[in-house]
């Protein structure tokens, strides 16, 4: 195979160089200058990505300045959201974003790590490759399709089965009290769990696959069971990478918009019961932005977007750094 590739590529090189002949050696000087120019041009495009980030931050800060000036730091702690009287606070949305993401992680982290263990420690190579592909396919499904499925399939299921079952068994907790009409915090958490599951599973799989075989053999040689080896040796060895996977998933969950908007119920309130409707930072922007009237209303919505951007940037940045540290450099991680 390697030989084939060599022949093909060598052929390609010779056909390329034939074209070069007509340039002749006397323009070598010009080429060198062009080389410098080419490097600079590529560098400029690379730097423009940094510029793009700066522009995003500038635009968001600029567009939310009205709200920043008027509400200050209190914006994040104010529970009232009343566009008519222009009393605007972000607390209910921040609460909704964190609660729905927490539900998602509580469900998806154990499942995702379990899948990673199955793929790396148990499944034959071919099965592992195919199942891994199928689970990554979950990550490729557009958010709107999850939303549609959540609205027409998952929400009725929660209303008829999940919520009554939880109320009958754990109903003494305020979390699972009251009636559910299908849409609400719990449904949003469930759909988010499905959406972030592939990220946790895929990154954890890569992390576990990178654990040296000698670690496993050493543990097994001491007479442990396969599970004890996984639990006491393999998982602790990969804990940094798994933490990276979880943080990456958190970043996705915090910013996820359409699927959540369609199943969370969109009501700015803080309720103890997970069956009740809620609202997240991203879904209030999605729902109200195109109809927002008045500069203050728009500005407050933009500030929510700015807060969301800062939050997800910090979370995703932390995930990148953790995963890079593990793979020893930013280049190695696909």
């Amino acid at each position: 195979m390697a030989a084939d590739m060599g022949t093909i590529l060598a052929g390609e090189v010779s056909s390329r160089t034939r074209n070069l002949r007509r340039w002749g050696p006397r323009s070598l000087q010009g080429w060198t200058n062009l080389d410098g120019l080419f490097r600079k041009a590529c560098g400029a495009f690379a730097v423009s990505i940094v510029g793009l980030l700066a522009l995003v931050v500038y635009q968001l800060v600029h567009a939310s300045r009205l709200s920043i000036e008027r509400f200050g730091v209190g914006f994040a702690f104010e529970k009232v959201w009343d566009p008519v009287t222009q009393n605007l606070g972000a607390a209910t949305f921040i609460y909704g974003t964190f609660v729905s993401s927490t539900i998602a992680l509580l469900i998806a982290v154990p499942l995702g790590i379990g899948i990673a263990i199955f793929l790396v420690e148990m499944a034959p190579r071919r099965v592992s490759s195919l199942v891994g592909f199928l689970i990554e396919l979950l990550a490729a499904i557009p958010s709107i399709v999850y939303g549609l499925w959540g609205l027409f399939v998952l929400a009725p299921l929660v209303r008829v089965w999940v919520a009554p079952a939880l109320r009958n068994t754990l109903g003494f907790l305020p979390l699972f009290s009251g009636e559910s009409n299908g849409v609400g915090m719990l449904t949003a958490g469930l759909i988010l769990a499905i959406m972030v599951l592939p990220f946790i599973a895929a990154v954890s799989r890569d992390v576990l696959a990178a654990v040296p075989q000698a670690q496993r053999e050493g543990s097994l040689a001491l007479g442990t069971t396969k599970w004890e080896t996984i639990w006491n040796v393999v998982l602790p060895y990969g804990r940094v990478g798994i933490a990276g996977a979880v943080i990456l998933a958190l970043g996705r969950a915090l910013g996820e918009t359409m699927a959540v908007t369609m199943v969370i119920g969109n009501s700015p309130q803080i309720m103890a019961s997970l069956f009740q409707p809620g609202y997240t930072m991203s879904s209030v922007i999605a729902n109200e932005y195109s109809e927002a009237s008045g500069p203050m209303y728009l500005s407050a919505l933009t500030e929510l977007g700015l807060l969301l951007f800062i939050l997800t940037f910090a979370v995703n940045g932390a995930a990148s750094l953790l995963i890079w540290r593990l793979t020893r450099g930013p280049g190695a991680h696909a």
């Binding site: 590739m5 793929l119 490729a140 999605a286």
Partner: protein, 292 residues
């Protein structure tokens, strides 16, 4: 491997409890995988079923019927998605590839590290934020929703993916190929553009396809940038419909016929994603074979 224990060591050294716990936990790992696959099959199956029942020729050839009337199709949305993804690609592909070349070929210092960090982090930015960015940048200035604003939002989402995959793929090109080119007197820029880049092309195209597949299903970034348009529009200066936004509008509306069409739209999106993913898997698999 567990069975080796009891035969070598004294009896009961691996207690029944430890064996049972081990089997149980491994069983749970299999169950977790089963749950994920079941959900995948459930979602895909449901979308395929509902979509297949709903999709018809009108879906591809007709504009939306007036509100409340049954019939009509997604022609405006399909056209709009095509145009906006095309414009976004035209903006993001050259930038992404050249930035990728920089990172792979010349990126050794702190600047490259910063660019990598920012593009990885920007790549995970919520799409609604990309929508806000394009809104404040364009819609606020021209005072109306426009397809151009939608394209800019999509381009912002595409650039990081294209940059990073281009970098990774260009890195995979063997060093000997570069040395051969340089030894023949080819200047660096020609070597990069005409030898290294073509050798990495299948991987770079894969990255571009992934980016296109992702933004084709993108809703949040278009909600208040390109907005929606019930008529066929090809002007970048006007609001433009897209498949995901129209699916959203139809899904939350109270008409059964619109729900039916929303499922047809979802089927189109899911088919697109599945085809792209399968193509990417085939492309990367054959490349790995070549390397081995």
């Amino acid at each position: 491997m567990t069975s080796a224990g009891p035969t070598v060591l004294p009896a009961r050294s691996i207690s029944t409890r430890r064996t049972v716990v081990g089997k149980l936990m491994l069983g749970l790992c299999v169950a977790a995988t089963g749950v994920a696959l079941a959900v995948l099959v459930w979602i895909f199956g449901y979308v395929l079923m509902q979509g297949a029942l709903s999709v018809n020729v009108n879906f591809f050839t007709q504009l939306p019927a007036p509100v409340g009337e049954p019939g009509g199709g997604f022609l405006n949305a399909l056209t709009g998605t095509g145009i906006m993804v095309g414009v976004a690609s035209a903006m993001s592909i050259p930038l992404g590839i050249l930035a990728g070349i920089y990172l792979a070929e010349f990126g050794h210092g702190w600047l490259a590290y910063v660019v990598r960090f920012i593009s990885d982090t920007l790549g995970a930015t919520p799409s609604i934020v990309a929508g806000l960015f394009a809104y404040t940048l364009i819609v606020v200035r021209v005072h109306h929703f426009s397809a151009l604003a939608g394209s800019v939002a999509l381009a912002l989402l595409m650039i990081p993916t294209i940059t990073r995959t281009a970098e990774e793929m260009i890195r995979l090109v063997p060093r000997t190929l570069r040395e051969a080119a340089l030894a023949l007197g080819v200047p660096e820029w020609r070597m990069t553009l005409q030898i290294v880049l073509p050798a990495a092309s299948s991987g770079v195209v894969t990255g571009i396809m992934l980016a296109i597949a992702r933004v084709s299903g993108e809703t949040a970034a278009l909600l208040f940038t390109a907005f929606n348009n019930r008529f066929l529009s090809t002007s970048l200066d006007e609001p433009m419909s897209s498949v995901p936004v129209q699916v959203y509008t139809y899904a939350i509306a109270p008409y059964d016929d619109w729900h039916r069409q929303a499922w047809a739209g979802a089927l189109v999106l899911v088919t697109l994603v599945a085809l792209f993913s399968a193509a990417v898997r085939l492309a990367t698999r054959s490349r790995y074979k070549l390397e081995q």
